[in-house]
Amino acid sequence: MSELEPLAATLGPLVLEARELSKTYRIARGVQLEAVSDVSFGLYQRAIVALVGESGSGKSTVAKLLAGQERASAGSIRLDGETIEPARRRRFRAHKSEVQMVFQDPFSSLNPVHRVGYHLERPVRLHRGARTRAEVAAQTTELLEEVRLTPPEHFLAKFPHELSGGQRQRVAIARALAVRPRVLLADEPVSMLDVSIRLGVLDLIADLRSRFDLAVLYITHDIASARYFADETLVMYAGRIVERGPSETLTQQPAHPYTQLLLGAAPDPDRPATRLASGHARAAVGRAGSSLAGLPGCRFAPRCPFADERCRSQAPPLLPITRRRAAACWRLDVAAPALAKALDEEREEAIRT
């Protein structure tokens, strides 16, 4: 099968790339935890890529590696094709300003003793070269308008505790924008917000990526929001990417058994109440995957209803299943028969022509 051509790559030029990235933590003598293993993907200008997984799957570690907060144990990170090396201090600092993060908890990511204005003035002075008081004021006002906190004068003088969760998250986004980044890493940016205001914050990020040509990584455990918000979705399990593809096709026709489990667990307002009580998703029972290094086989095998001998002894590689999609599963023919059949037909077609 030919090379994978990610959907996100069709939307804009490659900005930030993870190549065979791994991160290992030593958790006890002789025991290694492979939080991230062999993860490769690209972030493209004006594209939103979602990284979906449960807690402990390594998705936040990926963000920390990309942001330069942690050093990779193996693999490389490239910005505009150039490998980032923390040892080259100046280049590394430039990298940090081009790749900005928005964190999950807007209650702890803003300094409670400083006003909103202070949070924005510093990056505006340091990274935008604003000198005079008037310049600083003009730029901070503009930033608040960008994240739709209006009237800006009203918000500049507020302390974080005077704002709602959604407003705080908007301030955090404004602060990230203050640096004029090219990549925005949003680590569960709405999971601590009320359901009713999540959409507004996600729409804001989607809008900003078009206006500022941002490449966005959206990290979440909510695969339903990935469907709506991201162009491409990567599903991560126990440190590995197990499936990737365009968000819509991936959620509507999942290939990997873990993606199927995730989708089955998502609340569904269109599903009648009786479904819950019937114990339908009992297949879900099982412990979160182990990321301990050195364990053989597919990491999802202990929870997988389709696992066989090979799954327990050999880790499946992430292989393209269509031009846009890839999955790491030995048993796709059983796990996603309709998809596998369609692929076979496509393959035959390709051979014939």
Partner: protein
């Protein structure tokens, strides 16, 4: 329709009255947090009757008063929170013979009421376990205090409790830190069920958990409810969960009732613009992509509520008369009430359908 015309009729008597005597009845409950900056009326004139064996979902944004309402109903609030009006009765028609006037109960009576009759699972339950005690001892404490058993019988009870929530029996010897978040939450649920209460209040029990774990726990709770027959008040800000889990749903906004009805009616005959906004806030993984609107603005500042309906500043159906509205439950269907006098279910459904025809996202 003229500005003052009302489409919904005043409700007669208590909302959704039925022949079955409620096990927990909240009438006209108001709770205020006193502070130097002025009083905050966190809960205002709320009625809710929980019938035996039913699941009532309580939904609203943070600050809508849903937790305050539940905690107030079992007298778990401390100053500066003050109950300013209302009546809460447990088995109200049998006061004296196992029934309680909760708000008038003394410390001794409250002790009998809590755990044995009404128990609570808190949102932060994962951190509510004592880190230096084994699971066995913490579960055992509840039994010792409320349903003393002989040693053998108690052991058997503890083991059956863990079976009930799907944790291996050998975990009785574990300390909390040796369990995963989901397991700890299950221990808390086991603890709440330890002495077989009639009513279980769940305050955002799965908010801190992963989707897959959340689903497992909710399924377990639904099964346990069927098996043991307790009534449940389930509090969450995630309406999509309630549509699957609850028999009836109550929507609170700014401490007041917005809408109350069966889960089906809330979903299919939505009668309050705020409920409609909540329903259009979460994406679905299945079915066609539908346009989502969310709710503009932020939850209200409870110290400076607008006159009339508090949802007015965020409401797309707002009109001048909204500031004159007195918030009363109005009947819109059988056992279905809304406090919005202007917008009917048909008008709302139409508006939402038109919006959905727009481009997705």
């Amino acid at each position: 329709m003229s500005a003052a015309a009302t489409v919904n009729q005043p409700a007669e008597g208590a909302a959704g009255e039925s022949p079955v005597a409620p096990v927990l009845e909240i009438e006209d409950l108001s709770i205020t947090y006193r502070s130097r900056g002025g009083d905050v009326n966190a809960v205002r004139h709320v009625d809710l009757a929980l019938r035996p064996g039913e699941v009532v979902g309580l939904a609203g944004e943070s600050g809508s008063g849903k937790s305050t309402l539940a905690l107030g109903a079992v007298r778990l609030l401390r100053p500066p929170a003050v109950i300013t009006s209302g009546r809460v009765t447990y088995r109200g028609r049998r006061i004296g013979e196992g029934g309680f006037d909760v708000l008038a109960a003394n410390a001794h009576e409250l002790r009998r009421l809590r755990w044995r009759e009404i128990s609570i699972v808190f949102q932060s339950a994962m951190n509510a376990l004592n880190p230096v005690l084994r699971i066995r001892d913490q579960l055992g404490d509840v039994i010792d205090a409320h349903m003393p058993l002989r040693r053998e019988a108690k052991r058997a009870r503890l083991e059956s409790l863990l079976d009930l929530v799907g944790i291996p029996r050998e975990r009785l010897r574990s300390y909390p830190h040796e369990l995963s978040g989901g397991m700890r939450q299950r221990v808390m649920i086991a603890m709440a069920l330890a002495v077989e209460p009639e009513v279980v209040i769940m305050d955002e029990p799965t908010t801190a958990l992963d989707v897959v774990v959340q689903r497992e726990i909710l399924e377990q709770v639904a099964e346990l409810r069927k098996e043991l027959g307790f009534a449940m008040l389930f509090i969450t800000h995630d309406l999509s969960l309630l549509l699957e889990l609850a028999d009836r749903i109550m929507i609170l906004y700014a401490g007041q009732l917005a809408e109350l009805g069966s889960a089906l009616a809330i979903r299919n005959a939505t009668a309050h613009p705020y409920t409609a906004g909540l329903l259009d806030s979460f994406p679905s993984v299945r079915g066609p992509r539908r346009a989502l609107s969310g709710i503009p603005g932020s939850p209200p500042d409870m110290r400076e509520l607008p006159r009339g309906c508090p949802f007015t500043p965020r409401c797309s159906f707002a009109r001048a008369a909204c500031s004159e509205v007195t918030m009363k439950p109005l009947t819109v269907g059988e056992g279905h009430v809304s406090t919005c006098p202007f917008v009917g279910a048909d008008e709302l459904a139409q508006a939402r359908a038109t919006r959905r025809e727009g481009s997705p996202r």
